[in-house]
């Protein structure tokens, strides 16, 4: 029985006048990959942003490693070694790939101070990052940018990876590469919270799953169970996995 690394209890989030999250209860077990599924507008991105402190929860509690992080600001949360890959990727296009990576490596003041072995591992997962090392990140293709975004998130060891729709807008071949990378990450024991709409991701990566709808989590369990139950899939997601 693995402990829970991240817990959300009764979290409500308002954005201006809009009440987006209506009491989210979510548990992320340590060392596993949890997928957050749901239709567009269900509140998945809002949940991630609330965890990261980009939006303040108006009610409820977010606990990380036993510590209440609900009121912390974003830099403080990131300092706890939670890495966030937003839907928009957050790539700094005017900076080179190297500079993007260096920025994410908080302990390194110069590129030479980054962990060479770790970089090697990252290059093996995402060859494009090595190939375009000195090029402005803006020149990369969509898929390559996405890879850079994930590479950045793991440039140093992190406790928790929060990734928002990494496969969005990518070609199927690239998506497969992405899935391979995540599979390797999962195998390495990193805790991952992944928001995805792509079916293949869900099928191949497995793990635990939570489904959101209308700002609440309506189902939580193992991916294996959900994969068996097509009726449940239909009702929750409107489609079969």
């Amino acid at each position: 029985m693995s402990e829970n690394l991240l817990t959300l209890e009764g979290v409500h989030t308002h954005i201006g006048a809009y009440h987006i999250l209506h009491g989210v209860n979510l548990t992320i077990p340590k060392g596993q990959l949890t997928m957050l599924l749901g239709r567009n507008g269900a509140g998945k991105t809002t949940t991630l942003r609330t965890i990261m402190g980009l939006w303040q929860a108006s009610q409820g509690k977010v606990t990380f490693g036993g510590r209440d992080i609900t009121q912390l600001n974003t830099p403080q949360i990131a300092e706890l070694n939670i890495a966030y890959v937003p839907e928009s990727m957050g790539i700094f296009s005017d900076l080179t790939v190297k500079e993007n990576m260096l920025l994410a490596a908080r302990s390194a003041r110069r590129a030479s101070q980054m962990d060479a072995d770790r970089l090697k591992w990252i290059f093996s997962l995402f060859p494009a990052v090595e190939k375009f090392w000195n090029h402005p990140a803006g020149k990369l293709s969509g898929g390559q940018k996405q890879m850079l975004a994930v590479a950045r998130a793991i440039v140093e060891p992190r406790e928790l990876l929060i990734v928002d729709e990494p496969s969005k807008g990518l070609a199927p071949a690239i998506i497969n590469n992405m899935i391979d990378a995540f599979a390797q990450l999962k195998a390495s024991g990193v805790t991952i919270l992944l928001v995805e709409q792509n079916i293949n991701f869900a099928k191949r990566l497995g793990g635990t799953v939570a489904v959101m709808d209308n700002g609440v989590v309506v189902h939580a369990g193992s991916m294996a169970e959900l994969a068996e139950d097509t009726a449940l899939q239909q009702s929750l997601l409107g489609l079969a996995l």
Partner: protein
């Protein structure tokens, strides 16, 4: 900063203007004098504008009161230089420097310190609200100007150039004022330091990234708000330095000089693109050159020429010559 296909076109604007105006001026010696004067003025403007553009680029804060640091620096210099008259009267450049450098340092220190207070009490409470920022920073400038009048009096004060820096060097027929060469040198030094910091240090990296996407930098674990205070203070200190140099260029200081230079600074950073240091440099050089060329050819249209320049650039690139992406 960029590899391969670097955006070189804006850089070409400066020589383009300088060469294009030549036929109108006629004599090459006059042209040289005017061009150096323009570059010197441009460099001083750049020193002042660099802080403002970074502050806006990084934190989306529009400081309409930036002019107060200019005036403050200039007035502080009058006091310091006034107290060191035996150094300034000397013909030796070295002894002059021994007065001017401390004056600059003190001016920068005071401006930076006031900048710290300004950020804390005037700017910080209105983050994210552009309208209030415009109003309040203007209010801050009014208050600052009046306080300057309280301390130094409302009248214009002369700021004579140290003896050793007076006079011109002759290059053939062209007379180039010594001070202008110094100004260009100082400006280039400031630019070099800024560029080095931005490109080669992690802090610089943070600033460049923050200008593009502040939220992502915070998500990577950096407290960008603290960085901002630092940038604001440095920007104010630079404005103070620019004020000292501007004062010496004009050989006098008035409490309103801040408001007057403010307009030029805004034109410069609009031309350059809000948030771009390189753009500010090019914009400042263009404005400086334009002011001097039109001052010679058609003095009445001097201020308009800068606005016309701004309009022309905006028609070409509506966000300025080096717009910062993701804005």
């Amino acid at each position: 900063m960029k590899t391969l296909d670097f955006d070189w076109k804006p850089l070409a604007l400066v020589p383009l203007l300088a060469l294009g105006i030549f036929p109108f001026i006629g004599s090459s010696s006059t042209w040289i004098t005017l061009t150096v004067a323009g570059l010197a003025m441009g460099m001083i403007i750049f020193i002042i504008a660099s802080g403002l553009t970074l502050v806006f680029g990084l934190m989306d804060v529009l400081n309409f009161g930036h002019g107060v640091f200019i005036a403050l620096g200039a007035f502080v210099a009058t006091s310091v230089l006034g107290a060191m008259s035996d150094y300034t009267q000397s013909e030796s450049m070295l002894r002059n420097m021994l007065a001017v450098l401390p004056a600059m340092m003190v001016a920068m220190g005071v401006a930076g310190a006031v900048g710290l207070v300004f950020e804390r009490f005037i700017v910080r409470p209105v983050y994210g609200q552009h309208l209030k920022q415009i109003l309040i920073t203007m209010g801050g400038m009014i208050i600052g100007e009046e306080l300057i009048k309280v301390i130094w009096g409302p009248a214009q004060i002369p700021l004579p150039m140290p003896e050793g820096m007076r006079g011109s060097l002759l290059f053939g027929d062209a007379a180039i004022e010594k001070y202008r060469l110094i100004a260009v040198a100082v400006g280039l030094l400031v630019f070099a330091i800024l560029a080095w910091t931005l490109v080669r240090t992690k802090v610089g990296l943070l600033i460049r990234a923050g200008v593009q996407d502040r939220e992502m930098v915070e998500s990577l674990g950096y407290r960008i708000k603290r960085l901002f205070v630092g940038v604001f203070v440095v920007g104010s200190a630079l404005a103070g330095l620019g004020g000292v140099m501007w004062g010496m260029y004009q050989q006098s200081v008035t409490p309103q000089m801040g408001a007057h230079v403010n307009v030029l600074i805004f034109i410069v950073i609009i031309i350059g693109g809000l948030g771009s240091t390189g753009g500010a440099l090019i914009g400042a050089l263009l404005v400086g050159l334009m002011a001097n060329y039109t001052g010679f050819l058609a003095p009445k249209v001097a201020l308009f020429s800068n606005i016309a320049l701004m309009a022309a650039i905006l028609l070409w690139r509506p966000q300025g010559i080096y717009p910062v992406t993701n804005r």
